[in-house]
Structure formats: C-alpha cells, structure tokens
Symmetry: C2
Subunit: 345 residues, 2 copies
C-alpha cells in the first residue's frame, strides 16, 4: 500500500467514526445543558472538533475483532469526553494559549471555571461506560471500567512526570526517560487503551490484551513525537495551537532532550538558564535561539528518525499480532495507522 493510499484510508475512517462518536457525545452533553448554562463551557472543546483518533481506534479495533460498531460506541464516546477533560487541564498546567484554533478555555473563562469544566468532562465520561451494561452485560462492563481506571491512572502519572521535570528543572534526561513518560502520558489513553477495549468488546473478553501493548506503544510514541515536531515546523492555521508553544512552555520534548545531551557546555548552561525562568519571563529571542540550536544540532532530524523507527516497529508488530484476523477495512485502518502518524502535517 502506498503512503498516500494509507493516509487516505485512515482519513476516511476517522471521518466516519469521528462523526458517529460526535453525534453520540452531543447527546450526553446536551442532557447537561438543560440543567445549567455552565454546560456551554463543558461543551466548548468537544464542539471545536478534533480528529477523534481515540474513538476511531476503539471502534475500528472492536470491529476488526468481529464486534458490531454500536457495541463499542459508548466506550469510544467516554474516551473522547475524557480526552477533552485532559486537554482542558493540560492547557491550564502548560499555560497554553490556543487549542484547536481558538483561545484555551481558561483564557476564555478563567482558571476556576476551567478546572471545574475539566472535572465535569471527566465525570461525564463515566456515564457511557456504566451504561455499557445494557448491551455488554455486567462482567464485561466492569472489565472495561477496570481498564479505564488503569488507563486514567497511567495518564495522570505520565502527566505528573512531565510537570515534575519542568517544575523541578530536571535536565538530566535521556531517550528512555522520554519514552517511558510518553508511554504513560500519551500511549495508554491514545492508542493502547482504545485497542484493548476494542479487543475486549470484539472477543467478549476472550483475548490476552498484553499482546497489543507494543503496537499501541510504538504508534502512540511516534504520534506524540510527530505532534511535537509539528509544534515547531507545522502550519499554524492547520495545527490549531501556537507554533513553538512547547518552547515557550519549556516542555521536555525529544528534541529538547536531544539538544540538552549534545550541545556544547556553554550553550547548555545558557539553555539551562532559559529553561529555569518562568514562561512569562522567557523572551521571543530566547525561544528563537533554542529553535536555532535544535536546527544546528540536528535535533529535529534525530526526532524524525526516532518517529520513523517507531512507526516501522509498529508495522512489524502489526504483522506479528494482527495477522490472524480476517481481512477487513478496519484491519486495513490499523495497518495504515503507523504510516499516517508520521505522514500527517
């Protein structure tokens, strides 16, 4: 399959599944709107769109394993609600200014209501999971909740790691630290969990979930690295966040960790000083300087190579663990995913 065909296939699937998930998500949000105007805030991020990658991955995996798509719809919707909850709190924690092309929620409504709206989205994500019981029965519903608890725990722990590094000015980091953090912060909820739940539903809890862990990790890590690269080189209008935002925020991306490890001692000392200041105290000149050093030391090329390596490993894993599944458009979607991840702009 050519890369263009792979990308087109993924896009098409994302559109279909994303639309189905959004329709159902709105039903859950609308119910709240009848109770208080505050739900306009809660619905803000979900209504901004987004590609619904996580919901699609959950729906596609369930279907590839033989489920009817409606059987995984509640789990997919719950995941999108939780994803939006994470985004609201992440944006606050990172002091981000833009999300999906608009000001972040806390810039629009202040930190107190934004913290609360994030909490509300997390709480709302529980309902569809509990309501699984009508279609999937109590045992499978509880198994999915068990997986959801693990996934949410991995995610907050991963986010804690990243925040800790920034707050405590941690600079002695290597690729292994980075990948461990990304495994927890990004992969668990973006790729590993959606596929585990899809497989649980498709096989009625009849498969060893740890088989799919590696594929999810490789795809998810490649996705995160590509996302961080787009923050530095992307097209702002399409990217939906401020360019170089990660540098303003001092985020420990793979590029920054690479730069810290290869740069000359005097430059490293300057880099350390710049990262030691608060976001507000950082200047545009300093941000440009970091960006230029990354170019000079090949940090972006290095990260691109790692992302490509991870995508290749994912393709290898795919042929190892999914080969036994019958051919289907959903299986094709899963196979095309690693290619799409590193091709997207």
């Amino acid at each position: 399959m050519s890369t263009t065909a792979a990308t087109a296939r993924v896009r098409e699937r994302l559109e279909d599944y994303g639309a189905a998930a959004r329709v159902r998500m709105r039903e859950y949000l609308r119910e709240g709107q009848s109770r208080h105007e505050f739900y306009a805030l809660v619905s803000d991020y979900p209504e901004r769109g987004g590609r619904a990658l996580r919901a699609s991955l959950c729906l596609a995996t369930a279907r590839a394993f033989g489920a009817h798509p409606t059987e995984a719809l509640n789990s997919a919707v719950a995941l999108e609600l939780l994803h939006n909850a994470f985004l609201v709190h992440d944006d606050l924690e990172d002091e981000s200014e833009e999300r999906r092309g608009h000001p972040t929620l806390h810039l629009r409504h202040g930190a107190p209501l934004a913290i609360n709206a994030g909490d509300a989205l997390a709480v709302l994500s529980l309902r569809p999971l509990i309501e699984n019981v009508g279609m999937l029965g109590p045992r499978l519903t509880l198994r999915i909740l068990e997986e959801a608890e693990r996934m949410a725990r991995e995610s907050v722990e991963g986010q804690a790691l990243e925040l800790w590094w920034r707050q405590h000015h941690v600079l002695e980091l290597g690729e292994v630290d980075y990948l461990r953090m990304v495994l927890k912060k990004t992969c668990w909820y973006s790729t590993i969990y959606p596929m585990r739940v899809g497989a649980l539903i498709g096989t009625r809890d009849g498969v060893k979930l740890d088989r799919y862990l590696h594929f999810g990790f490789f795809v998810g890590a490649a996705f995160q690295i590509q996302d961080d690269l787009l923050n530095l080189v992307g097209d702002e209008a399409r990217y939906g966040k401020e360019l170089n935002g990660d540098l303003w925020e001092g985020k420990r991306t793979l590029m920054l960790i690479h730069l810290l490890n290869v740069t000359a001692p005097d430059e490293r000392a300057r880099l350390s000083r710049v990262l030691g200041t608060s976001r507000a105290a950082r200047t545009g000149e300093e941000v440009r300087w970091i960006r230029e050093r990354m170019e000079q030391y090949g940090s972006l090329d290095y990260a691109r190579q790692v992302a490509h390596g991870l995508a290749g490993a994912a393709l290898h894993e795919f042929s190892r663990v999914f080969a036994e599944l019958p051919d289907s458009p959903d299986k094709d979607f899963l196979e095309a995913l690693p290619t799409w991840v590193i091709e997207r702009t």
Copy 2:
C-alpha cells in the same frame, strides 16, 4: 439524649470509622508511592487528617442496615479519596491559602502539579469501587458506580454554580438558590450519597433510596451553613482554614446572601463594588466592613436559625424513615448527627 451525649457519641464513632478508613486509604496511596515521588503530593491532603465524616456515614448506614462493616469499607475509602480530590481543586478555584492548618497544595507545589494531584486522587477513587466486585458481586458493584457517577456529577454542577455566581458577579440570590446550590455541591457527596451507598450495601439493593434523600439534604445543608459560620467566628487553630477566608473569596454564603437582601441601598452598592473586585484587590478594611455589616443586620443569627431549623427537620425525617431499623449504635449515630452538626465548633 442530651446534646453533649449526642456529640460524644458522634465523635467516638467518627474516630473509630475514620481510623479504619484511613488505614485502608493508605494502602491505596502507598501502592502509587512505589511508582513515583509525585505520590507524596497526592498523599498530602489525605495525610493531614480530617474527620472522615463521609466515610463514617457510609460505614454506619451500611451497618445500621445489617451489613458487615468491611463490606462498605471500599466505598467509604473511595469517597474520602474523592473528597480530597475536590478539596485540592476547590482550594485552587477559591484561591484558598490554608487547609487543615497548613498551606494549600497549590501554594506548596504550584497550580500545575496541584491540578494534576487532584485529578490523580479522583482517578484513585475509582479503584476501590471497582474492587467491590470481589465482595459484592458485579450487579451491586455497578449499582454503586451508578450512584457514584450521579453524586460526582451533582458535586461538580454545584461547584460550577457557586463559581459561576462569583465569576459573573451574580448578586440577585435568595435562600432557595443557596439551598439548591448546597444540595448539589455539598449534600450529595457529603451526606446523601454515603447513606444511599450504605443502604444499598446493607440491603443488597433492596430499598428505595429516595426515601433517605431528605434526611441527607437537611443534615448536609445544616453542616455547610455551620461550616461557613465557623469560617467567620471559629477558632482558627481548630478550624484549620484562615478566618474570614470566605469574605476574602467573595463566597456566596447564606450570610452574604442575607446581607445582600436586607442591607440599605447605599451599603448594598458598596458591597457590590467590593465583591466585584478580585481577591487580590480586596482590602482587610473592606473585609472587616462586610463582617461588621453582617453583625449589624443579624446575618449570622439568621443563618444559625436556618441551620437549627434544618437540623430539626432532619430529626423529624429520622424518626419518619429510620424508625423501622433495629436499635444499634450505628442507628444512634445517625440520630445524633443533626445535633452534632450544629453543635460543633
């Protein structure tokens, strides 16, 4: 029963049940500590103590309905973890400075890690509820999760209401608005839900839960009003929060709402101006002025009367809905609760 005897009875029960809940809660928190130093932050509020009212109410109700206390322990622990999650985010949203006699978590570690620690506590609260399945079976476990989702939703909606009033400078409020907000923000998770879950476990889902709603609402609302009164007149060392903190925060307490409704037009205009500024812009003189006007207009006495009325209504409800239960120390505890709530200092 004399009021002193009632208070002593409640205190004793709180100590016993609180100790049991704290031991189990530490087990859940310790597991995390093996994974990352960040869990020291997550454990901070839980380790500061607190009276474990919610856990005790859950354990006592379960036992009054015939359960073995260990059957409700997981649900009680989950509730304490969620309570601590709420406290961390509430303190951020209210810009509070003290909690249980120490600086608030965000003052100690910054807003980003504090938001994340609150999220972690909320996620951790799910585990004991899911692990109920071993002792209570899948159906009852799911029923409790259903109740927990409703409770958490009511709580975030109640908190949203209060934040909304402050953020949007809402002053046209009456006692009904206040009680509706407190029903959602405080009563659902502090009194209504703990008793509902206790009754669910004690009767194996064999009782109509709405019967206990009124008792929980009356006790919970009296509890919140008394708590807000203590913020104005309490002993700071025992109270554990800064005195007059609610006035600094512009919190819409029953006393403030009373004052807004009875004060002379020129004073109301001044009050509106003061409440319209940010916490940072408010002065000690302005806070003292509000406090004095409350004294002058009898706002504190009015709130005390409402709290007493609610406690009396709770006692009436108790005799209406709990009379059929066999006598037990736990039934006595429930009966003594309304008295304790308004007597505590």
